[in-house]
Amino acid sequence: MREVAIVGAGMTRFGELWQSSLRRMFTDAASEALASAGVKQVDSIYVGNMSAGRFVSQEHLGPLLAGELGQAGAAAVRVESACASGGVALRQGFMDVASGMSDLVLATGVEKMTDGADVTEALATAADQELEAYHGITFPGLYAMIARAHMQRYGTTEEDLAWVSVKNHRHGAMNPKAQFGREVTVEQVMASTPVAEPLRLLHCSPVSDGAAAVLLCPLDQAARFTDRPIQIVGSGLATAPMALADREDPAVLDAVHRSAVKAYEMAGIGPADVDLAEVHDCFSIAEICCIEALGLVEKGTGRNAAGEGLTALGGRIPVNTSGGLKSKGHPVGATGVAQAIEIFEQLRGEAGDRQVLDAKVGLTQNMGGSGASSAVHVFRRV
């Protein structure tokens, strides 16, 4: 397998982008990535997207968006793994280059969620239709159950959940591309509207539009495009039983753990070697469960990490310096790629106020549904 580098990146702001259609956001992000590397033509395009069919009645995104980008003729396909679509698109792109089949690949993600569809209903398609959705559960409900299990097992409190939102908003306030520019306090989070007990509005990531794209090529060709390529040194994809009821322990995200193990092994590192991570905080409880599953903290101790500053900028292992899904926004298919862009910029020393000093090794973890799929990537400064 060849070594693979990211040599360019582009993304839109995340938020309620009333003036931008799905295809417009895609071309904005993808053309920015191409321009940043001075590239005119690519071999393949992977489009991470969960549900354009339901949101804007558009399937077959591969050829559509390749054409919109001026890349008609390129190999292009839409990749779907619910909220992990972006991370899996990145993996497919990585494999395309690593295998030697392609030299220039765009790994992208895009989601247009504000065009009038019933978002809750569309997102619920990522759950088990027969065992879960049929009985009326929606995603906040599923994560609420995960939260209750974690609270019961490890004593995690609502306030612990709030600290994750507070930390991520503090980071997001420094990110010009983030949906929310304002910070929140623990009190505000704890007083926000209940959504699905114990989760409140400010424990939940928002509904967002956005697109993100990274350009991949073989590491030994990277110098043509940038003097600061970032290498993808590990990629892991794993699944877990779809229905919460079929999992061994709802508080333990097995798919996250397995995908991390595979990525660490490929990269030849362990969790202690990771300098910073972008983790899938679709709900605050998810960040707590994920950092445990990734081995960044001891199992059961995730609840203190945000409040004690462990995972804050300046802490031992900064998590979600971009603002995470909570503050940066979560246009579902785009998230996994946007996570990679944050690590890309951090490892190149281009993260401005959010810079983690001397960051050498970064990790992204992108999860689908209630944890049924997870894609983990490890990146290294070259």
């Binding site: 309620e16 009333w18 504000t114 009038g116 509207t193």
Partner: protein
């Protein structure tokens, strides 16, 4: 100079509180209060509709104008809840009030903007000299679908304005309209409840048009927010008008008098016209008033008005808006409300 020679408003007596509606649907009333700044809304009685509300309001307008109603040459009612899809509301009003038969009548619609729309056309006819007096009314008894956010705000009420060229209670200094094809809220023929685009009704619809029309009229007149004593905006909920007022540079004291939505609800085509009536009930001579409506679909009409000495003399001749908001009211249970609003399926 043309302007308002008579004005009146009508708000039905029935009310339902936000708590009562929230209780039905398992919602937290505090959240509604905080999020929408709504307390209670008016509910039309079984025998009330857009026509009866228009008649009551127009009657007060005629009293304040002190004119023989037969001198009104044009009658326009703007509403999104005309009782008939085909058969004008205006023809019932003219016979009820002794207007016509030598009169031009037309019904108007444009979601919540139909009231100021009727006013704009009435004003135009008078300015042109085509008629001596023209009546423009905004009134509605609109529905909110059960368990929809709009159910907390959709209410009933309206206001009527007679325009003329002499003995003005308020001069119309300028008008400005801003319109675009923005489908934020609609109801197809035959549907009982309207549909809406959720958060799309905010920034790209309400805020875009209210801001553009208000800025447009300020530019056209060369006036600044601080030149006005009062400003009235369309009030779909308690929050939006406060937010847009702040964005445009108005202060709370300027917005307060016309901000009647927390205890009236959103009377759709009656919303900003009734807010304007509340302002005219207390404005001092010479004070400038800005009103900007909003109708989904979408568009906004702005007017700059100036109160006259005659306003102070004449306004006591009929009911004030506050007397109807704060006066005798009858609170309904959700069951009574559903019955009055014909939300309960009964055989014919």
């Amino acid at each position: 100079m043309s302007g308002i020679v008579g004005y009146g408003a009508h708000i039905p007596r029935n009310r339902i509180k936000v708590e009562e509606i929230a209780r039905q649907w398992g919602k937290n009333p505090e959240t509604i209060r905080r999020g929408l700044l709504l307390e209670e809304k008016s509910v039309p009685g079984l025998d009330e509709d857009t026509i009866t509300i228009s008649v009551e309001a127009a009657r007060d307008a005629i009293d304040r104008a002190g004119i023989d109603p037969s001198r009104i040459g044009a009658v326009y009612i703007g509403s999104e809840s005309h009782p008939y899809a085909v058969k004008p509301s205006g023809t019932v009003l003219i016979d009820a009030l002794g207007i016509g038969p030598e009169v031009h009548v037309a019904d108007f619609e444009f979601a919540c903007k139909a009231g100021t729309e009727a006013m704009f056309v009435a004003l135009g006819l008078v300015e042109a000299g085509r008629v001596e007096y023209a009546l423009g009314v905004g009134a509605d008894t609109s529905q909110g679908a059960p368990n929809d956010a709009l159910e907390f705000s959709a209410s009933a009420g309206g206001a009527a304005y007679i325009f003329g060229k002499k003995e003005l209670l308020a001069e119309v200094v300028e008008t400005y309209s801003y319109t675009s094809d923005t489908p934020d809220f609609w109801r197809r023929e035959g549907e009982f409840y309207p549909r809406h685009g959720g958060r799309f009704t905010g920034e790209p619809a309400y805020f875009k048009h209210v801001e553009a029309a208000s800025r447009g009229i300020l530019k056209k007149t060369g006036l600044k927010p601080e030149d006005f004593r009062f400003v009235v905006f369309h009030m779909p909920n308690g929050k939006f008008p406060l937010q847009v007022g702040k964005t445009l540079g108005f202060k709370k004291e300027q917005i307060d008098t016309g901000w009647i939505v927390p205890t009236m609800g959103n009377t759709y085509s009656g919303s900003s016209p009734t807010g304007l009536a509340a302002v005219l009930d207390v404005a001092d001579p010479g004070e400038l008033i800005l009103i900007t409506s909003f109708g989904s679909g979408a568009g906004s009409d702005s007017f700059v008005l100036k109160a006259t000495d005659l306003l102070v003399e004449r306004r006591g001749r009929a009911r004030t808006v506050r007397s109807m908001l704060d006066g005798p009211r009858h609170y309904l249970t959700y069951g009574e409300y559903a019955k009055y609003r014909e939300k309960i399926i009964v055989n014919d």
